[in-house]
């Protein structure tokens, strides 16, 4: 008879592996049907990334990870914060302005800007939180609306404060002074550096895990997520939790744009990366709201994005194909977990049956 813990571990590993295989299979199918060179596509995507690509992967993963965390905080309380997208853009803009104005010297300026970003993100999400808590407005709608509203407002204020480099058609906030940027480190001699912010992201992940799984606040938050009614009866103020959860989610969302801001663009402009909030949703779900899971999800997505980039140039296949892969993975992961779970249940039932039989034997003997 084999060790049940081994079986459990085996099953745990089986799920994600199964999922990846499935996703690759389906993608390959699409490629075949479309008559694209399957082999070359995969050899490009699965090829060993160069140092600079690794750096890029880590960088994008950092950003996606933060976005995933922000969404996950909400999910843990059954709040669906689709608004991370708007929140991080508002926050990044505010941070860019603050850091650009450089009222404080060096690192102090950086800290101030980060705090400002978290505040801005929290405030923007807080609107949805208050609407939900006080007026029962579904945060799904309010955050969707707030995303569009954020676009308009940021565009308006950006145009107010924008500085425009001679000869450039891009407008952006003032550049962050050298001293206030967050230095990165390079892997090997690759040209691109890894954002120093990556450590802050990991810290954020740990804090997330610790707060949710080890603190009373986290307990209350998860309890509210599982049953509002029971939470109320247990003395949790659901309205308060709703607002606080949205505030936290927004504060984390406020961090999303900062790695880019302090490690790369040094200003917020019309080419600042957008749409990160939506990627975050997929990644939070992929990581099952668990900090480590989210990290894995972020790395996977970043890896696929990076590796698919040259597809068009080297193989002549549209990189959009990996979007299919990514979406399919989100599905197959959950499905294969479900399949494996059901299989596990069956195993357990057989175990129970055997135990029962054994008892009977003894009873007779």
């Amino acid at each position: 008879m084999k060790d049940p813990r081994l079986v459990k571990l085996g099953l745990g590993l089986a799920a994600p592996v199964l999922a990846l295989l499935l996703a690759f299979l389906i993608t390959s199918l699409v490629l075949v049907v479309a008559g694209d060179p399957v082999g070359e596509v995969w050899s490009t995507i699965l090829g060993v990334p160069e140092e600079r690509n690794i750096a890029n992967i880590l960088n994008n993963a950092t950003v996606l990870y933060l976005s995933g965390l922000a969404v996950a905080v909400g999910f843990r309380m059954n709040l669906f914060n689709i608004g991370v997208d708007g929140q991080y853009r508002v926050a990044a803009f505010v941070a860019a302005v603050v850091a650009g104005e450089a009222w404080l010297p060096g690192a102090a300026n950086t800290v101030l800007a980060i705090l400002a970003a978290m505040l801005a993100g929290a405030a923007w999400a807080g609107i949805a939180g208050v609407l939900r808590a006080r007026r029962g407005v579904s945060e799904v709608i309010s955050t969707i609306m707030l995303n569009f509203i954020a676009t308009g407002l940021v565009a308006y204020f950006l145009r107010r404060v924008a500085v425009r480099e001679e000869g450039s058609n891009d407008i952006g906030t003032k550049e962050i002074p050298e001293g206030s940027r967050i230095p990165g480190f390079s892997i090997g001699d690759g040209p691109t550096e890894v954002y120093g912010f990556i450590f802050l992201a990991a810290l954020a992940g740990f804090v997330y895990w610790f707060v949710l799984n080890r603190t009373r606040f986290g307990f209350d938050l998860r309890a509210t997520g599982r049953s509002t009614t029971a939470a109320v009866a247990s003395g949790i103020s659901v309205t308060k939790m709703t607002v606080v959860a949205m505030l936290i989610s927004g504060a984390v969302a406020g961090l999303v744009g900062l790695p880019l801001l302090f490690g790369d663009s040094y200003s917020y402009g019309s080419t600042f990366q957008s749409g990160l909030g939506f990627a975050g949703i997929a990644i939070a779900l992929l990581g099952r709201n668990h900090p480590i899971g989210i990290a894995i999800g972020a790395l996977l997505f970043a890896y696929l994005d990076e590796q698919s980039n040259p597809l068009q140039i080297l193989v002549g296949v549209s990189p959009d194909i990996v979007a299919i892969t990514q979406g399919v993975i989100v599905l197959t992961v959950v499905i294969s977990y479900e399949v494996v779970r059901r299989y596990g249940v069956r195993l357990e039932q057989h175990a129970v049956a055997r135990a029962l039989e054994a008892d009977r034997q003894e009873a007779r003997a």
Partner: protein
């Protein structure tokens, strides 16, 4: 009657759930035109067995015969087709639907979904005196009415075998009598009724045959004439049949809970409509059990929630051992020493999808031994949960099992254990033994009495009048949000209470 095949014959039914054997080699014959009772302690497997007979769950082993014909039921549709109808332990009604919609659902073929159906419902309702209006929203109905709607659903489909899983748990005596009246009518018309209850005297009074299930398997089938409820109980659990008789009063003169004209406006807002609670005042002394009797939906739930601070808009004053609660949050009130056994354990008592140990912490997040500097010590919590599981005999594979997997009774025991463990000075117990088997009942009553002796004040709300009379030092009757009468348990019969509750009888 050997020539006539039994209405239902179950042979060797087995059903496993992860970590649990719900049913194992169950054999039952239900004769035509009889009421067949099934008794057994919590988690014995009664509901599971019935779900199998109703096609909700497939048995792992065994055969089912209905009217002599062997059937395989892959869904309730099959069961209904074979003339089986079931009223579940937990109501199966869509609150936001009308009675009509709830009844015709799935049986539209019979009389459509319009006037014809409405007429048919009214006919059945009148025929059995169920008093049901087809166009009411179910969420507006009291429990008794919902119960009757459930029965009407079964009758509407012309069932030959009617399963009732703990139908009386939520009914007052009058309602129970009505129900039994209906059952006897059905029986007279040749229907067979399978009846599950934990109230053994009921069972003895109404059943023609009784099957006892223990640990998932049939241990005996007896004739009610030949057994006492004591013997039944022993068959079920091997324990004594408990009698909730109060020993010498332990009431002190220290007022623990003081409630003065507590009011709660209705939905229409202050001043408009009928208030949910209307100027309610009472004291509970240390060591006193105050029982609240009332037909469900007359303000008991609101009263409890108002005291717990879960009802914004409540006016009046509430003092706990001299402390003014009015401005305090629910958590502060719990910390001030209120234990709370909620009426609806699924909605207010448990996190069904959380492990038991988290459910232990629920409501006591701020308490020792696990709460330190805003952190929660998982080890301490698990340990204390182990203790409760042992002391309160909660049947579970372990403290990491999800609360959902426990049977109703065992869930209840966990809750009672939890609320008793918070050293409360006031215990608010709403239907503490609802759906709990006799063994567990005895245990729970025992715990309440011990605490009472130790100076606990108890606000007891129960639809089980024997329980109420047995445990209370004083009984207040609540009707339409107002206290309408005070009774001394030692000189009151369930019937008197019942009529006071329905507004028929006057106060003493």
């Amino acid at each position: 009657m050997p020539d006539v095949a039994p209405a239902v014959r179950l042979r060797g039914i087995g059903k496993r759930f992860p970590g649990v054997i719900a049913n194992d080699d169950i054999n039952i014959d239900v004769a035509r035109g009889t009421i067949h009772a099934i008794v057994g302690e919590n988690g014995a497997g009664k509901s599971t067995l019935m779900k199998i007979l109703y096609g909700v769950q497939a048995p792992d082993s065994g055969t089912i015969e209905i009217a002599g014909e062997q059937v395989s039921l892959s869904s309730p549709a099959d069961a209904i087709r074979h003339g089986v109808g079931m009223v579940f332990q937990h109501f199966q009604l869509a609150d936001n639907f009308t009675v009509l919609e709830n009844v015709v659902l799935g049986a539209e073929k019979l009389h459509g979904i319009g006037a014809a159906a409405r007429a048919e419902i009214t006919r059945i309702s009148d025929a059995y005196g169920l008093g049901i209006e087809p166009d009411r929203l179910v969420e507006d109905l009291g429990v008794g009415a919902r119960q009757r709607v459930e029965i009407l659903k079964v009758l509407y489909r012309g069932a030959k075998v009617v399963i009732l899983d703990e139908p009386t748990a939520v009914l007052v005596p009058q309602e129970v009598d009505e129900l039994f009246g209906n059952l006897r009518e059905l029986k007279a018309e040749g229907l067979s009724v399978i009846f599950i209850s934990h109230k053994l005297d009921e069972v003895l009074s109404v059943a023609d045959e009784i099957t006892v299930i223990r640990r998932g398997t049939t241990v005996a089938t007896v004739d009610p004439a030949g057994v006492t409820s004591r013997q039944l109980a022993e068959l079920m659990v091997g324990s004594e049949l408990p009698s909730p008789s109060t020993e010498s009063s332990t009431v002190t003169d220290r007022v623990t809970l003081h409630v003065a004209d507590l009011s709660l406006p209705g939905a229409e807002g202050p001043g408009q409509g009928r208030p949910l609670l209307d100027a309610i005042s009472f004291d509970i002394h240390a060591g006193e059990v105050l029982g609240i009797a009332g037909v469900e939906g007359n303000g008991q739930a609101e009263l409890v929630e108002a005291i717990m601070g879960m009802r914004p808009g409540a006016t009046g004053s509430i003092r706990l051992a001299g402390v003014d609660l009015d401005q305090l949050s629910t958590r502060r009130r719990r910390e001030a020493g209120i234990g709370y056994i909620p009426e609806d354990r699924h909605r207010h008592g448990l996190l069904l999808d959380a492990p038991l140990w988290e459910n232990r912490v629920l409501g006591h997040q701020t308490r020792k031994p696990w709460a330190r500097l805003g952190l929660i010590d998982r080890k301490a919590a698990r340990a204390d949960t182990e203790r409760i599981v042992a002391d309160y005999d909660v049947r579970t594979p372990g403290v990491d099992t999800l609360a959902r997997a426990l049977s109703g009774g065992n869930q209840q025991k966990l809750i009672v254990g939890r609320e008793m463990s918070g050293e409360p000075i006031l215990l608010i117990a709403a239907h503490p033994t609802r759906g709990v088997d006799v063994g567990a009942q005895a245990a729970i009553w025992g715990h309440i009495k011990d605490a009472r002796r130790a100076g606990l004040a108890v606000l007891l709300i129960s639809a089980d009048l024997d329980e109420l009379i047995g445990l209370s030092d004083r009984i207040e009757v609540i009707l339409r949000g107002r206290m309408v009468g005070s009774f001394d348990p030692s000189h009151v019969t369930p019937e008197q209470l019942g009529s006071a509750m329905t507004g028929a009888g006057g106060a003493v």
